[in-house]
Symmetry: C2
Subunit: 67 residues, 2 copies
């Protein structure tokens, strides 16, 4: 559903517009992986690692992305 350079969440597969229109944020981890805020929050509840690369990740190590 996504092309290089297009923002989407690799967990729920929603595109940028679907993420933003539903009131979620697009967030980036410190390791550079992009998710919707809901999927990353859910993932961090069960494991303190990045869902993409599995690096250790605390709630302070990600931030909203303004694109």
């Amino acid at each position: 559903r996504s092309a290089p350079g297009m923002i989407s969440c690799p967990v729920c597969l929603d595109l940028y517009s679907e993420i933003v229109d539903s009131g979620r944020l697009v967030v980036s981890t410190k390791c550079g992986h992009v998710f919707c805020s809901q999927c990353l929050r859910d993932a961090l509840r069960s494991s303190h690692t990045c869902p993409n690369c599995r690096k250790k990740l605390t709630p302070r190590q990600y931030h909203p992305l303004y694109v």
Copy 2:
């Protein structure tokens, strides 16, 4: 040149594909603003602030973005 959710650099206006094809990285600051690595590096030489929102920014406060 860009649409919401499409990655581009607001300084040189290059799109994601042009940035990556020329060997640059797409980077995000901690404040959530996205640039090509060349433009952000140039900007941080003259001022230690984000070119978009002017928040204080050190070289450790940005990271590559993998999209």
